[in-house]
């Protein structure tokens, strides 16, 4: 996927700052301007992801009725000996929906992990 790789870090000795970056958990909790920025970005990212999934469904399943309406001869087309509408809407659509859902869950959980890392600071 298009996840940016974390920057490579050369380990040359023990970390110099024992405490590490400070946790931003309180910022999110208390709604400081910084916490607000964090949350706004998470919300925007998750919403964009949801809209992408809905658009994908709209552009695949959503276009089927109009396609059959515009090209009625599609109804005569056959796949493995069965009418194409039955193969697609009676069978193939379910693995497709599951795949889309699975990809969505993976992306959304990655967003949440990134957010958690951002707020908590990188793991020590």
């Amino acid at each position: 996927m298009s996840e940016p790789r974390p920057q490579r870090v050369r380990v040359t000795g023990p970390p110099r700052y024992a405490s590490g970056p400070r946790s931003r958990r309180g910022d999110v909790h208390d709604q400081t301007p910084l916490g607000d920025v964090f949350l706004r970005s998470l919300l925007k990212e998750q919403l964009a992801l949801a809209i992408r999934v809905l658009a994908l469904i709209g552009l695949t399943l959503g276009l089927l009725p109009i396609a059959f309406h515009l090209w009625p001869r599609m109804a005569d087309a056959e796949l493995i000996g069965l009418p194409v509408a039955w193969v697609v809407l009676g069978g193939l659509v379910y693995p497709f929906l599951l795949l889309v859902g699975w990809r969505y869950v993976r992306s959304v959980e990655r967003n949440e992990r990134d957010f958690a890392d951002l707020v908590e600071g990188p793991p020590q």
Partner: protein, 505 residues
């Protein structure tokens, strides 16, 4: 008829006994208020997903889809596809945030989000309305099935299903129902899969004859010709895709997940389970096209699943399969009706009966209030089903989806993703969508038959009522922006923050 009745009778008895036994077993785990409403939020994703599948696959799925496909052809494939895709929409828009909201029911969510008792009451009213609209066809369908399977009078089905549901719901609330529902998903899948396999084998053995019956547009997934057909198809898709998230018995299940992540996993497993189930009704329809000419001619397409085994296989084999599908159909009524009864009772308990039976009292009185509410939630639709016997089963399920899509879908979506939603905006939107789709539902139920565009607009209201509801909610909220609740931002923080951070709550 008496010889034919034996497998059906045995099947109905077996399902009833198993349901009551599992429900009573679950009683041993039900002690607290939280057990009753949300099974103490400890149901793991796989069990919960089976329970959702069991609850969601109603008689309309088990019996209705195959019959609709046989008679209507590919345009009816949108029903199972929409019922499944609805879960994908639910997954991406509401699943995890809804669980993190920490509310018991839909009205709880509305009140917590908007801080308004009035919106809460409106939601309670809608939950009860949608729940009853959906319970009615379950009880009626039970009457039809028992009539077809064992030749019982039409009033027996609603009474038996109503009684079993009531005992189950009253005995253990959500926790015991969860086990029952999960069992019933696998029962329904078996009851469809095994006969489908056997009948396919018989078909191959017969030399794979081609079908003849069924309408002309059997392979066209659009309802009829021209713009009206296109409108009807898209309107149905909107109602099903968006209505799922607003069904009260679906929503209440999401509160039983341990956390937001669990809610997403559950939804994913549900997508798989529903897909696995919906592969089989088209098989029945296709075989019905070969062997079920008489059913189509007699206009009895909806009993296709029950009758096909007998039509294709004589003797004991056919009777055994008939018993199996009858058991599945009966499980379908029981599980969907139980889920709806739980959801409606939960809302009634919080908003009505707990005022009479010791509000904020010890656990015992909450359980008593819940039981009182359950009696009320089940008996009203049973009575209506006994009195009004000529409302179309599939039709009223479709209308329940349209009403849910026009009311709870905008409320949940905007409430979860848009900070600017106000109580006045929510109320106006609920009223617009509820009156629009609900009004169309009432017109349908009282038997108004229009043709052409008015007919299409009334039978499939979602394509106009959902946008109206969304637009009203947004515009009125913008006009009353000063009323946006102060805690809205904090609430959204809680809905969208991953649990690992433990912000809020």
């Amino acid at each position: 008829m008496s010889g034919d009745a034996v497998p059906g009778l045995v099947a109905v008895l077996a399902v009833t006994v198993a349901t009551l036994a599992i429900g009573t077993w679950g009683l041993r785990f039900s002690r607290t208020t939280s057990d009753f409403f949300v099974a103490s939020r400890t149901v793991n994703p796989r069990l919960n997903a089976s329970a959702i599948g069991g609850e969601y696959l109603s008689a309309a799925s088990f019996l209705g889809v195959a019959g609709l496909l046989l008679v209507g052809g590919a345009q009816m494939l949108w029903y199972p596809v929409g019922w499944t895709a609805g879960y994908l929409v639910l997954l991406v828009l509401v699943a995890a945030p809804l669980r993190r909201s920490g509310a018991y029911t839909l009205p709880d969510f509305a009140e917590a989000r908007l801080g308004s008792r009035v919106v809460r009451s409106a939601c309670s009213l809608l939950v009860v309305g949608v729940g009853w609209l959906y319970l009615l066809p379950q009880f009626q369908g039970a009457g039809l099935t028992l009539e077809s399977a064992i030749g019982a009078p039409r009033w027996v089905g609603p009474l038996i299903v109503g009684f079993v549901v009531l005992v189950n719901v009253m005995s253990g609330g959500m926790r015991s129902i969860t086990f029952v529902q999960a069992f019933q998903y696998w029962l329904k899948l078996t009851a469809l899969l095994v006969p489908a396999m056997v009948l396919l084998a018989v078909w191959v053995g017969d030399g794979r004859p081609a079908g003849t019956s069924g309408g002309a547009g059997w392979s066209v997934p659009v309802a009829g010709d021209g713009a009206i057909g296109l409108y009807t198809t898209y309107s149905l898709m909107i109602a099903l895709f968006l209505g799922t998230m607003g069904l009260p018995h679906v929503v209440v299940r999401f509160y039983t997940n341990p956390d937001g992540r669990g809610a997403r996993r559950t939804t994913l497993v549900v997508l798989a389970l529903l897909g696995l189930f919906y592969l089989w009704p088209p098989v029945f329809a296709a075989l019905g096209r070969v062997y079920g000419d008489d059913l189509v001619a007699d206009g009895r397409g909806d009993v296709l699943v029950l009758e096909l085994p007998r039509l294709m296989i004589g003797g004991v084999g056919g009777e055994l399969l008939t018993g199996l599908v009858t058991a599945g159909a009966f499980a379908a009524f029981l599980s969907t009706a139980s889920g709806l009864a739980i959801a409606v009772s939960g809302v009634l308990t919080q908003d009505v009966t707990s005022r009479f039976v010791g509000e904020r009292g010890p656990t015992g009185s909450v359980a008593a209030a819940f039981r009182l509410a359950a009696v009320f939630a089940v008996s009203v639709p049973v009575l209506v089903a006994l009195l009004a016997t000529n409302v179309g089963v599939a039709q009223s399920v479709g209308l329940a989806f349209a009403v849910a899509a026009s009311t709870f879908c905008p409320l949940l979506t905007l409430g979860i993703w848009w900070r600017g939603l106000t109580d006045v905006g929510a109320l106006a939107g609920l009223a617009a969508g509820g009156l629009g789709a609900g009004g169309a539902a009432v017109l349908n139920l009282v038997g108004v038959h229009a043709t052409g565009w008015p007919g299409a607009l009334i039978t499939q209201p979602a394509a106009w009522s959902v946008p109206i509801a969304f637009a009203t909610m947004v515009l009125v909220s913008l006009a009353t922006a000063s009323r946006a609740p102060v805690h809205a931002r904090r609430f959204l923080v809680r809905l969208h923050t991953p649990e690992v951070l433990e912000v809020g709550s």
